[in-house]
């Protein structure tokens, strides 16, 4: 028998619960993730670009007037920075790309005294932004001919350009001879040795279709045809290094010709089979993982990535939880009220589960309109942190384009594929004036944003970020390239008391740059893996010397190096607070 409930009491209880629910929504929305106090001694940055002699200011491309209504959105790429020891003096140098016809790229050679000398013109790397040739969108360093000097691939909206380092910090354009004079509207590039033959191959990500000359357009139907599943971008290309200074197109043969508007690429051995794989962050589409099948072909696998379609901008690799695995951080877009694509922090469970597990929440997921990001132990505590730059278009502070864009963003793809159909952007902002995020790894407490407390407060439209021990002090400094803005150098002023260890690897049977080599260090119960990358983040490349923070540990038990050649090398109890130069197959030398 149904027992009647007092209607008034029921109504009262229901109303109370309803009010509680309304209140809870408001409270939960205002509750941010907990942030532990950050010691300024632990992580602190001082912006010193000007004092260090770095006065680079990026200039955006001026494209075909047919795109004028969306010019601020389309011409919003190209501020990039890559790190290498160009003149082999033991100090890391910086290369910045510029993107307007006539605007020079910049090569800052590190004097070793805390300052840099601009040398792009003498090096032959300045005047690369020319009508009919294209404008620079990024660059990656790699010793493609194994002569001991870092060469440079500049990818552009236009022709690719390969520069051979003569060994005296001057460069020769060898594009034509190398067989790389291909017009690609590219925004990503990475060196890797996919067939492990000891010479570096090249993978370049196309963004706009390669049949488009963005300064002489026949029409305006050039945009993506979907915000989530677009496949009408430029085709990515894989160039196989024949070992004689020339490259051949291996895209079709290897099955890696994605046309998903690739924004960033990283390469590493994700599934521990000894062969370098490719991980793509695609704008307007899902990320893609191409597993390398013994250098004979790549296979596009699901790996838990295909059901999560967003706007990937950057790929960074790091062993977040010291599991001896390379996890993946991919930046995306978040804007309050309009869009929460959210960054992805994907833990690598490929070897056992054939998939990644997405774990980003809170400040990790929402870094605004995020672009470049890098893993690095910024406070030398033995845990990898994240530095994320952001901001798309900073125009008027009180008027933005989000509402205008929302009119077309949810519509049929045929409409917004035509740039002419987009509302005029004019001087509006679109996720402008955002502050970079410094996400410090607190172990079990997760990653916490401490940017403000560490002195990272700029509001430029950050694109590319690279980490490097620029002053050889045993800490990672941060270099940021800003779109239409000045380059920034955040000098790390953190606690010098913590221990660290560094490795510069030199390949012998492997490629000389040791790109693809993995170093795993073990101390206490910590086991951390890092990879020497031929490009990482968004249009950037870090210091390829691997840097490990050790916290209070004054001893490293073991270091295992897995070279691209397949050779393994173990170093027992190396000295800490040192950078070790390790030549493949040779005993370890110690460098102060």
């Amino acid at each position: 028998m149904v027992r009647a409930v007092n209607p008034r009491a029921a109504r009262f209880v229901t109303s109370l619960a309803f009010l509680g629910g309304l209140t809870l929504v408001v409270v939960l929305d205002r509750t941010g993730p907990p942030v532990s106090p950050v010691s300024t001694l632990e992580v602190r940055f001082t912006e010193v670009a000007r004092q260090a002699g770095i006065d680079f200011v990026h200039q955006a491309p001026a494209l075909d007037p047919k795109l004028d209504n969306v010019a601020p959105l389309v011409a919003a790429l190209g501020a990039c920075v890559s790190v290498a020891d160009v003149d082999t003096n033991g100090w890391m140098d910086l290369f910045f790309t510029n993107s307007r016809f006539g605007a020079p790229n910049a090569l800052y050679l590190n004097r070793g005294d805390g300052t840099f000398r601009e040398a792009a013109r003498q090096a032959g790397l300045a005047d690369l932004n020319r009508a009919g040739e294209g404008v620079s969108m990024g660059a990656v360093w790699g010793d493609y001919d194994n002569d001991g000097f870092e060469d440079l691939l500049v990818y552009r909206w236009g022709y690719l350009q390969l520069f051979h380092n003569r060994g005296d910090a001057t460069f020769e354009d060898v594009t034509e001879a190398a067989g790389l004079r291909h017009w690609m509207n590219a925004n990503a590039g990475v060196w890797l040795d996919y067939d492990r033959d000891g010479v570096l191959d090249l993978y370049v990500g196309g963004y706009f279709r390669s049949d488009l000359d963005l300064w002489h357009l026949a029409g305006t139907r050039i945009m993506h045809n979907s915000f989530e599943f677009a496949t009408n971008g430029g085709q990515n290309r894989l160039f196989h290094n024949r070992g004689d200074g020339t490259f051949e197109d291996a895209t079709e043969a290897m099955g890696v010709g994605s046309t998903r508007w690739t924004m960033a690429v990283a390469s590493a051995d994700f599934n521990d089979d000894g062969w370098p794989d490719l991980y793509l962050a695609n704008d307007y589409g899902p990320e893609q993982l191409f597993l390398n099948r013994q250098g004979e072909r790549f296979e596009l696998v699901d790996a838990g990535l295909t059901g999560d379609s967003k706007s990937g901008m950057s790929v960074s690799l790091g062993d977040l939880h010291n599991r001896g695995r390379l996890d993946v951080f991919v930046t995306n877009i978040s804007e309050r009220g309009y869009l929460f694509h959210g960054n992805n922090l994907r833990l690598n469970f490929l070897p056992e589960l054939d998939r990644f597990e997405e774990t980003a929440t809170g400040a990790v997921a929402d870094a605004g309109w995020a672009w470049g990001a890098q893993f690095g132990d910024l406070n030398n505590d033995g845990l990898l942190d994240l530095f994320v730059v952001n901001g798309y278009v900073s125009g008027d502070r009180d008027r933005d384009y989000w509402y205008a864009m929302s009119k077309v963003a949810g519509a049929q793809g045929n409409i917004f594929e035509d740039a002419r159909n987009w509302p005029a952007v004019g001087s509006l902002s679109l996720s402008g004036y955002e502050q970079s995020r410094v996400l410090v790894n607190r172990g079990a407490e997760g990653l916490q944003d401490v940017a403000e407390a560490t002195g990272v407060t700029d509001e430029y439209d950050g694109r590319s970020v690279a980490l490097a021990d620029l002053f050889n002090r045993g800490v990672l400094d941060v270099v940021v390239a800003n779109q239409r803005g000045p380059a920034l150098l955040y000098r790390n002023e953190g606690d010098p008391g913590r221990h660290w260890i560094g490795f510069r690897l030199v390949g012998r049977a492997s490629n000389r740059s040791a790109i693809g080599a993995e170093v795993t260090i073990e101390f206490g119960d910590v086991r951390q893996r890092q990879v020497v990358a031929g490009g990482m983040g968004f249009c950037s490349q870090n210091d390829r010397r691997l840097h490990f923070g050790l916290g209070d540990a004054a001893r490293v038990d073991r270091v295992t190096i897995r070279w691209p050649s397949g050779r393994s090398q173990v170093i027992e109890r190396p000295a800490v607070d040192r950078k070790h130069v390790v030549v493949e197959g040779e005993p370890v030398a110690v460098r102060d």
Partner: protein, 288 residues
């Protein structure tokens, strides 16, 4: 046309359609949207939101109807609300509380925000509008589109229009769409630019859910055909006003800009219902 033709019965499929309770046709339609959207475009972004929103909607409806009305209500309405919420709410990564609380508030609003025994808000409209206005740090509205395929759009529109006709709410859909188009043209005359930009939202899934499930909800529309047409027009008019404010960057109304139709309905709908119920009450009173 002969008299025989005029008096002959409709084809068998249509006769079968006519026998089905419109409520279940709408259940079928939203399931179709869900299945198509998920299968082709992964529109849910994982199954946890669906399980959370649908589960809590069904549970809340069962408990509250039992508690307040002494019997468990038909759960088809809660089913539609649960699926609508799982499709339309797009929160910050990996958080489920907007689905959980949105589902509870949507169903509870039927029992709390009522006048003369009728709830005033469409449940999912109330929940989404509240979340968008008070929790914009964590909640956004569906911004996906159906890829670049006209076919998916066509399937939804064809089924939607047939079912709206069978449910006798086609006039509401038509009134809203025609008003939207007319006002979009008018706005375009004011602000300039390509007209297609102003019409474009209609081609997206968010509007299809709005047009076929929210603005047409028989439980929260006024009692007369003329009244429903007027209300649909008023919703479109308020939406156009919000959009015009957005076109001129009026910062005061910024919280409304991510989803003008949802918020316009949340304002116009209950007022119209209240007015209609009050009018009917007066009409029912015996003459003095």
């Amino acid at each position: 046309m002969t008299d025989a033709a005029l008096t002959s019965s409709p084809p068998a499929p249509l006769r079968a359609l006519a026998r089905i309770n419109p409520k279940y046709l709408i259940v079928f339609l939203i399931t179709l949207v869900l299945v198509l959207g998920q299968a082709r475009y992964g529109i849910l972004g994982g199954y946890q939101p669906l399980v959370t929103a649908l589960g809590i909607c069904l549970l809340t409806e069962a408990v509250l109807s039992r508690l307040m009305r002494g019997r468990v209500a038909n759960l088809s309405s809660a089913y539609i609300t649960g699926i609508s919420l799982s499709l339309l709410i797009k929160p910050q990564a990996n958080i489920l509380w907007p689905f959980a609380l949105g589902a509870f508030l949507a169903i509870a609003s039927k029992y709390v925000l009522a006048y003369r025994g009728r709830h005033l808000w469409n449940p999912s409209n109330f929940a989404i509008a509240f979340l968008l206005l008070t929790a914009s740090r964590h909640v956004a509205i569906l911004s996906h589109q159906w890829g670049n395929e006209i076919a998916t759009n066509a399937v939804i529109w064809v089924f939607g229009l047939v079912i709206a006709a069978r449910a006798r709410v086609l006039h509401v859909t038509a009134a809203y769409v025609l008003s939207f188009v007319a006002l979009a043209v008018a706005r375009n005359l004011v602000i300039g630019g390509p007209l297609v930009v102003e019409l474009a939202p209609l081609t997206g899934p968010m509007y299809q859910l709005f047009i076929f499930f929210m603005v047409t909800d028989p439980r929260t529309t006024v009692s007369t055909t003329r009244g429903r047409v007027v209300v649909a027009g008023l919703v479109a008019a308020l939406e156009a006003a919000v959009r015009l404010a957005g076109d001129f960057h009026l910062s005061l109304l910024r919280p409304f800009y991510p989803s003008p139709p949802i918020l316009a309905l949340a304002l116009v709908g209950p007022l119209a219902m209240w007015w209609d119920l009050r009018r009917r009450r007066r009409a029912e009173r015996p003459a003095a």
